[in-house]
Subunit: 182 residues, 2 copies
DNA sequence: ATAGTTACAGAACAAAGTGTCAGATAACTT
DNA sequence: AAGTTATCTGACACTTTGTTCTGTAACTAT
């Protein structure tokens, strides 16, 4: 990828994240981003069709870091030789905390819907093979519940309770959701 | 309240809900609502300052119906003589299903954030006194988890699994969340 | 019933944002 | 060194926004 392209893309991401600390997502205009990133109008549209596409691209960037391929279900075979499921969850929590500053503003406000939606897509793949087989409750419900609960746990954590450690958060989660820890 | 005011307010609500089935919330303009409701421009602004305020008002209207005062925690004393907590939950589920058509579009898309936020405010009051006292997990987390899980349960139900009865949904919920049923 | 109040329609308005397009310059690739 | 690609500046028509004005119709209270 062209250096110039990388540089501009990054400038847009940085401006976007910075602005989200001052304004809400819906109040944020493309014009604001252009001014903050100090780029030409057409340059923005050369990178992203809309504000929503920009947000989605940013989410993907973040989650590709938070969920490295060895943590995803598909590759779990290598991983599970070394560690339990709750270890995988704790790993994810550490990665989330690293990106805390970028993520915080995305949980709240109107962009939360898109951000949480993207987060859940990744989580579905993490939790998909962790459900017990026999239950009177539909599998679809249990998977949705495990995923949604974890996503909301992250939101609760970063919103106002970041004093807890990743290990503590993990224990809170497994104490509240019927998912085996290993 | 003035008849004319009620009538116009209702026309706006109706137009708004109707439009949400064709367009997403963020793509919806005040102009669209004005045209659909067939009212003057200044009339809209005489009722609501912004699109968001309109949405919030609609949410309040819906939830004041879904959560009648006798179901809310404050008034539980009268209620609990006759029925268990899971009965109260089932009552809520019936009310939700009644308003299904109005609610469905509000769960998804960009307005979901505001809608879910409003829903949770009501739910916090319903669940506040239903938590067990002694637990190693912080009370704040357990309350947030119970509320979020229930809100997401409703979303799951109406999104793609409305074939289940309120009683079934209630049983799925209590099977997955550590909250006493009575 | 009459007088006073309140809500609405219609139209006009400036201000701001949107998305696109052309031409010029600079940075990159081979 | 030549060709490609990304960016920049400026401009464009268009839509949306929120406000203000005037006249008219509907309501309320005495």
């Amino acid at each position: 990828m062209d250096r110039r392209r990388k540089k501009t893309r990054n400038a847009i991401f940085t401006a976007f994240t910075a602005l989200l600390e001052k304004k809400t997502y819906s109040a944020l205009t493309v014009q604001d981003i252009i001014d903050e990133a100090d780029i030409g109008r057409s340059t923005f549209y050369a990178h992203f069709e809309t504000k929503d596409e920009l947000l989605k691209a940013l989410c993907k960037d973040i989650f590709d870091h938070v969920f490295p391929s060895e943590i995803m279900s598909e590759e779990k075979h290598d991983f599970s030789h070394h560690s339990s499921f709750s270890d995988r969850i704790t790993h994810i929590l550490y990665h989330i905390r690293e990106k805390q500053q970028n993520i915080k503003g995305l949980f709240t406000g109107e962009c939360g819907e898109i951000f949480m939606g993207c987060l859940k897509e990744y989580l579905f793949r993490v939790f998909d093979d962790r459900l017990t087989e026999d239950s009177p409750v539909p599998r679809s419900y249990r998977l949705d519940h495990a995923v949604s609960s974890f996503a909301e746990t992250l939101r609760w954590w970063l919103r106002e309770h970041s004093e807890y450690s990743p290990e503590q958060i993990s224990s809170f989660y497994f104490a509240s959701v019927p998912i085996p820890k290993d």
